[in-house]
């Protein structure tokens, strides 16, 4: 199954390059130049993993991850930062980020993280499905 990734970064040249390279690796890529644009895209598209720059003009990544995790708890978010502030990085993890990577990031590394994040999302979805099935079958037993 194709992994659907949303790249969010205000550095357009970085996003474009990453878009091209991730697409070559058979990922389905959407891009956004700001957090607000990203939230808009999430409203109208199915996305598995968001790769989110921490520092952007307007709404920053740490604020955006809170909104994303609140609205779409199953979507996994990988934070990407051009500047390692020690506090922000661990803080970002505590907000539910799947991982926090420092730029410049190796493409392989990023792809592994995206795959791992996708795997977690799939397992979570499956968990919800199995719980529902168990509930349905339990109620079915009661009815019969």
């Amino acid at each position: 199954m194709t992994i659907r990734v949303l790249l969010v970064d205000d550095e357009t040249s970085f996003v474009e390059t990453l878009d091209r390279r991730l697409t070559l690796r058979k990922l389905q890529v959407l891009t956004a130049g700001s957090a607000d644009e990203a939230l808009d895209i999430l409203e109208h598209n199915e996305v598995d993993v968001v790769v989110l720059d921490v520092r952007m003009p307007g709404t920053d990544g740490l604020t955006a991850i809170k909104t994303i995790k609140r609205r779409y708890p199953l979507i996994e978010v990988i934070l990407l930062s051009g500047h390692a502030t020690f506090e922000a990085s661990v803080g970002g993890m505590a907000l539910g980020a799947f991982d926090y990577l420092l730029k410049p990031v190796r493409l392989d590394e990023l792809v592994y993280k995206i795959e791992d994040a996708f795997r977690r999302k799939s397992l979570q979805e499956e968990k919800i499905r199995t719980l529902k099935n168990a509930a349905v079958s339990a109620s079915g037993e009661q009815e019969s």
Binding site: H83, A84, F86, E87, Y112, L123, T130, A134, S137
Partner: protein, 841 residues
Amino acid sequence: MEITPEEADRLSNLFRQRYHSFRVLLAANGRALETMATMEKAYAGTRPFGMEFVVSNVTSVAIRVYRMISHLEVLAPDTYSELFTRFDEIRADLDAIVNPPPTVIGAPDVVPMTQIRRTDSTVVGAKMANLGEIAGTLGLEVPAGFVITAAAYRRLIDHNDLRPEINRLIQNAEIDRPDRLFALSSQLQQLIATAEVPLDLADAVKDALADLLEGLGSGVGLAVRSSAFGEDSADTSFAGLYDSQLNVHPDNLLETYLEIAASKYTPQAMVYRFQHGLRSEDTEMAVGCMAMIDASTGGVAYTSDPKDATDRRIHISAAIGLPKTVVDGRFDADFFIVERTPRTVVQRRIAYQTTALVLRPGEGITRSDIPSEIADKPTLTDEEILSVADAAIRLEDHFGAPQDVEWARLADGRLVILQARPMHHALVPDAVPTIEGVPIVSGGVCVSPGAAGGPVSWVRSDREALKMPNGAVLVVDYPDPRWAALLDRTAAVVSEHGGIAGHLATVAREFGVPAIFGIGELEVLRRGEEVTVDADGLAVHRGLVPGLEKGRRRPHLMEGSPIHEMLGNALSHIAPLTLLDPNAPEFRPANVQTLHDITRFCHEKAVAEMFAFGSDHSFPKYAAKQLHHNVPMQWWVLNLDDGFTGEVTGKYIHLDEISCEPMHALWNGMVAVPWDGPPAVSGSGLASVLFEATRNPALSTPFKKPYAQRNYFMISENFMNLQSRFGFHFSTVETLASERDSENYLVFSLKGGAADMDRRSARAQFIADILSDKGFHLTVIEDTVTARASALPRENVLDLVKIVGYLLMHTRQLDMVMGDQRSIDHYRSKLENDILSLNRK
């Protein structure tokens, strides 16, 4: 009990979720350990590293460790939550180390020179602090003026919110790549030069300027000079690495201020800070604004020989015009040596001066031809030379260390001190072998001693600077201070012009790069040709003289520097391992001291949790199976995920039903060579075994009994964790061999034995020796040998696993023969031969 299909689905999902968390935890563990090793290596090594290295590695380890705790929490909810508390405490300690409070708080934006003393160096920089001290306490003349402080610089940066952008640009660049360095430097300087000066700062500067001009009268220009924190200190000179602008029109002061502030990021200053382990936050840029001195002559005085600290005679360079003529090194200057007592000129070398730098009417400076009738005359009379020497000695007495003094003499005879800083003497290099043969070029002045060779690289422009290969001999027409950016990767420097007092000479001495300046015409040196520069012998020879590298002594500039110290402090909260024994009662979250402890704890508990969950659950698909190989064996296998080729319903599992590649590799290694049986043991060896047996050492395993008595494999398709006991030995093998090279690893550890501690330790060392050339990182502590290899392609990991399987089988009971050298030699050669043949099969 039968379970429903829905319950089976749920359990299956649960197992896979747990396995996923386990995998993520292991990957984080591997990455954290690797990063710790990188940091320890950097700390112990001589290669320079920057603030960004420290911050990003500390951050990276912290993130991995946090990930490990979070995923252990998935495996064992609410069981080890105290780890989060301990992690937060360690994190707070680390944060205080990597984000120390700023050095200047609450200082004014502008301070007049008359109020400045040397203790103010954190506010106005050492250069201006020294000048204030000289005027205020020594009564020597310095230019009138004021300083725009480091606090003002910080406000400028904050006002424009530049700090995050600056840090981001620096983090993303590789400043050891010259092209990136130059591009980065230009971006950073642009940011600052185009910043907006806060209104109140601009007003304060205008007020101070009005006061200054009132005292000077009209038509006087300004000298605007950098005075960064850390510049001109006893440890670091920063000679000429930042900008200074001369004869600036007062109307252009604010623009000039921004340009000088931006020069904090010249390539040469960035390389210099990097080499010296200075944080860029600690080198905030104060800027001195002073009345321009219209010097008729000027130069530099050293109160000892910069190449030899024991020669305490005064060394004076002098030229017609501004002192810049001397420090830029572009034009040749007169040189005098003055004896202290009796104070007399004992040596003089008069240059033929054709060009002087003088003030340009309106703004700036310009070249001026020197009339031929005075070109070969001494710049200074003996009386004037002695007056410069007197002032320099007074400065040395006052500051208590040899001084490097920039001076100017006015047409009316007044002597003005423009700068005084501690001298930087050259390291005394090790003795250089005598170089035979006729040199290609010779002459000039040795400005930094030693000898070294490399390919010739002519540098006259930034373009050529970018192309200079590492380890080249830098050849220039004059010693432009800009080329200091190249010195960290330069073997030696030769310059057609210039002398000992130039800025580039100062930095060459600091970096321990041999250099000859003023050697004359160098056209004979062709690009790429290999030459050897013998600075002491004032000669350049064709070819590379062997043996020079050994005698070369590069100073370890990082040691004791703020960034080196910062890394050391951070490491003390990260790297030591204090939780050693998983069976000790102290092995608890409350007792973790360092991030390494947390990784150790999380790993240990994650393995145990995975095992306990698998062995306690009655879910048949994931229950432990006994390995069946012709007969049932004492090996049990727990499937974490996709480790079996299909559904296995019974109690037993056959090898061909296992899809775990590492397990097959280990097994192949174990059975590749038949075991000869226990080694023949001498009487004393046997006695040792019997004695140890009576002491019944409890060998540690992370598992509760009765599992501790068995050999367990936990597997998936590309992961294997083996906990095994062979009699008195306990060993673990854990490996991940997937398509992701960077996450792959193998850890093998073996401890215990039946013999006494000496022999057991000898066996541990014996195994380490056997593995020493196989690419493992090895540690031996008492009778435990641990071998770790990581970030290898899958095939290589599997080859290593096979070797480990072989050793598991064949080093059993070898501890008992460790007293006998002949047996040791016999087994060493047997094992080495067997291992060689292993991967050929």
